[in-house]
């Protein structure tokens, strides 16, 4: 048998000393995740990264840049191209007390790993009555708006929010990206961590702190007339919509959900009791989507507070369309404002 070059013998092991983020700094969202990963790896030697092209290249979005050089190939593992195996070997590593962080290169590539996530990762703690924990973080760049080829712009989060045993996070900005990746990795439960890829390069101030617990929703703009609920890339669009509506005399309260499972209903309920109106917007298709679930729950719990039927502004029930059509599919500022008009009874 030929002697294979083992990954542990790659050059560059511990060639660089990792320097953690220690002071407030303006970073892109992608770089903020990179800093969060670095801190998590410094905090716990059991944190290992697995994924395709995450080593020398630093990932196709460069989120794992420099980590191979700083932590070596034993902890930053360039894997063969097999998503089920990326997740399935993470299960085995978790069995041995590791905290694997898997990178799925693009949203549409997660499905070969779907069985391991749904049938194994999500169920192990329940199956073994708490004996085996699965502190696995699965990072997924998600969403559209980058003019990409098929399978590169999807929003598969509802498959996972429908799966008991998983926690699901979607970040919208650099600060949350940094804080929540650290929290996700520290979580003893498996976490799907969705990164809105069209926001990777948007910069924001990052304080090197853990911040509020990841299951908390955050009011990113207070308002009194309409509750506008969203997550991921659309948080920014929703804030713009709130600004535009304010000029027209409508006060929108924008909530960044952050945790898609579990949903922080305490924050959402309090807001809807105040405003009496709810609009939920997401890029994912409408039918069976998270918006429908949240609206059903809020309708059950806050029915007497509602002034109007809640409204969904979502991607259509179509496979993700070609790049030249994606602007029609993706909710944008005008479609969100149209939804606000509907919940306000203006049309």
């Amino acid at each position: 048998m030929t002697t294979l070059m083992t990954h542990t013998s790659l050059p560059g092991l511990d060639a660089q000393k990792p320097v953690p983020l220690t002071e407030t700094k303006t970073l892109s969202m992608g770089k903020a995740i990179n800093e969060g990963l670095r801190q998590a790896m410094l905090d716990d030697p059991k944190v290992v990264l697995l994924g395709e092209d995450i080593g020398a290249l630093g990932g196709v979005f460069r989120v794992t840049s420099d980590l191979l050089a700083q932590f070596g190939a034993r902890r930053v593992i360039d894997t063969p191209l097999a998503e089920s195996a990326i997740i399935g070997t993470a299960v085995g590593l978790a069995y041995r007390g590791y905290r694997p962080v898997c990178e799925i290169q693009f949203d549409g590539f997660i499905f070969p790993g779907f069985d391991q996530i749904v049938s194994q990762v999500a169920k192990f703690h329940y199956r073994t009555q708490g004996a085996v924990r699965m502190p696995i973080t699965i990072r997924v760049p998600f969403g559209g708006g980058i003019g990409a080829a098929e399978h590169h712009s999807e929003s598969p989060e509802a498959y996972f929010t429908h799966t008991s045993g998983l926690r699901v996070i979607a970040v919208s900005n650099a600060q949350d990206a940094y804080s929540l990746i650290r929290q996700a990795i520290a979580s003893d439960d498996p976490v799907l961590y969705f990164e809105p890829k069209r926001r990777y390069h948007v910069k924001g101030e990052v304080v090197p702190e853990l911040g509020a617990p990841m299951e908390q929703a955050v009011i990113v703009r207070p308002g009194t007339d309409v509750t506008l609920l969203t997550y991921g890339a659309l948080v920014s669009t929703a804030k713009d919509a709130a600004l535009a509506a304010f000029d027209e005399g409508v006060s929108i309260e924008v909530i960044d959900l952050r945790s898609l499972s579990p949903v922080d209903y305490a924050v959402v309920e309090a807001s809807v009791r105040k405003t009496g109106r709810l609009v939920v917007t997401h890029e994912a298709a409408q039918s069976g989507g998270l918006g429908g679930e949240i609206i059903a729950t809020i309708t059950e719990r806050c029915f007497s507070y509602l002034e109007a039927a809640p409204v969904r502004v979502t991607g259509f029930d179509v496979p993700y369309p070609p790049a030249k059509l994606e602007s029609h599919h993706l909710p944008d500022l005008d479609r969100i404002l149209d939804g606000v008009d509907r919940v306000m009874g203006r049309r």
Partner: protein
């Protein structure tokens, strides 16, 4: 040196004769009469347990049972080759492996009675609980082995799966990963000739063992009804893994003499002549013949061994029937390791619902 591309390796003939093979014999030269008798005892006990569990299913005490009848040598021979710190990732038929690992008999049937999704804590015996998704556990074993490699320990992962599983993507991906990282893992395939109703020819046109070398993994094809060959091959594979040699693939050629599970009916798809032919290769029969020729089996030993097996069956039956039902609200337990507001609300609602009937939350009226 071991030749890794041989035909079927057999060290114990159907007639119970020890067949010398210099390349394998040194791996089992410690198997004296006492050790062989111990293996026979294990095999007899697990067959007896298997029979009892099938009876418990027929009597309505188990929902389902996957019999291992015919695969005793493959499971006992490999399990008894392991160290206690090696970690086992089985499918759902490795009840003899669980027995050898010291799993409580009641815990073995807990899953099949429907009381829990796992019968035991994997860490107490270094054996994962049954995995029902075909082949999924081979990746877990490979990942565990990557961890062992990083921890710089010489413990090995072994994963059990069947001939049907070799068609699954996960098994093939596991071999790719194991080869790429030279992971200390043993792939132990029990080719029992049938994946429910599909004969092995549906899965493979060549010997299953022939696949592994294409992944860069050496393989052994052994008579899985020959407990001595099974133990030798497993020890060879474990030694390779422990000493940095990477993964090995073992195809143990055996036969599922019973149904796939108690819900199956092999008379619909299997020629009775095939079963009759394999009965002549029964793993217990040939070891019994060897032990008889060695003078290890006397009427007293026979009776004592049978008594041990019967006692195990009685223990299994009592434990199974005496198992308390889980409490209703435990349906919500352990979904997450930390509190979950949505789930806590459902639990509280359901507890209230139960109480509305005058029922206590523990299910008693």
């Amino acid at each position: 040196m071991i030749d890794f591309s041989p035909p079927l390796v057999q060290l114990l003939s159907i007639d119970g004769e020890r067949m010398p093979r210099p390349d394998f014999d040194s791996w089992v030269d410690d198997l004296d009469g006492t050790a062989l008798l111990a293996l026979y005892r294990d095999m007899l006990v697990v067959r007896r347990i298997d029979t009892e569990a099938t009876a418990l299913q027929r009597q309505g005490e188990l929902g389902l049972w996957p019999p291992l009848l015919g695969q005793e040598a493959a499971q006992v021979g490999s399990a008894r080759a392991l160290r206690s710190d090696d970690f086992i990732f089985p499918s759902y038929r490795e009840n003899a492996v669980a027995y050898c690992r010291g799993v409580n008999l009641t815990d073995i049937v807990k899953v099949w009675r429907g009381n829990a999704q796992s019968g035991w804590d994997p860490y107490t015996v270094n054996m994962a609980t049954p995995n029902i998704i075909i082949g999924a556990q081979t990746l877990h074993a490979t990942g565990w082995a990557l961890g062992a490699q990083r921890d710089e320990i010489d413990a090995v992962a072994i994963t059990y799966f069947g001939d049907g599983a070799t068609s699954q993507g996960d098994v093939n991906e596991a071999m790719v990963f194991a080869a790429s990282f030279q992971a200390p893992v043993v792939f132990f395939c029990q080719n029992n000739q049938w994946a429910i109703s599909e004969p092995v020819g549906v899965q493979a046109h060549r010997n299953i063992a022939d696949r592994a070398p294409g992944f860069g993994i050496p393989s052994l094809r052994i008579d899985g009804n020959d407990v001595i060959a099974v133990m030798a091959a497993t020890r060879i594979a474990l030694d390779r893994a422990r000493t940095g040699g990477g993964p090995t693939f073992i195809e143990a050629v055996t036969y599922r003499m019973g149904p796939h599970t108690t819900a199956d009916d092999p008379t619909r798809y299997r020629d009775p002549a095939e079963l009759a032919e394999w009965k002549t290769r029964d793993p217990l029969l040939r070891l019994h013949r060897l032990l008889t020729s060695l003078g290890e089996i006397t009427p007293e030993v026979e009776a004592a061994t049978q008594a041990i097996a019967d006692a195990a069956a009685a223990e299994l039956r009592a434990g199974c029937i005496g198992m308390p039902d889980p409490e209703p609200l435990s349906v919500f337990d352990h979904v997450y390791s930390t509190p979950n507001a949505t789930l806590e609300r459902q639990r509280a609602d359901y507890a209230g619902y139960l109480t509305s009937f005058g029922t206590q939350s523990n299910g008693t009226v």
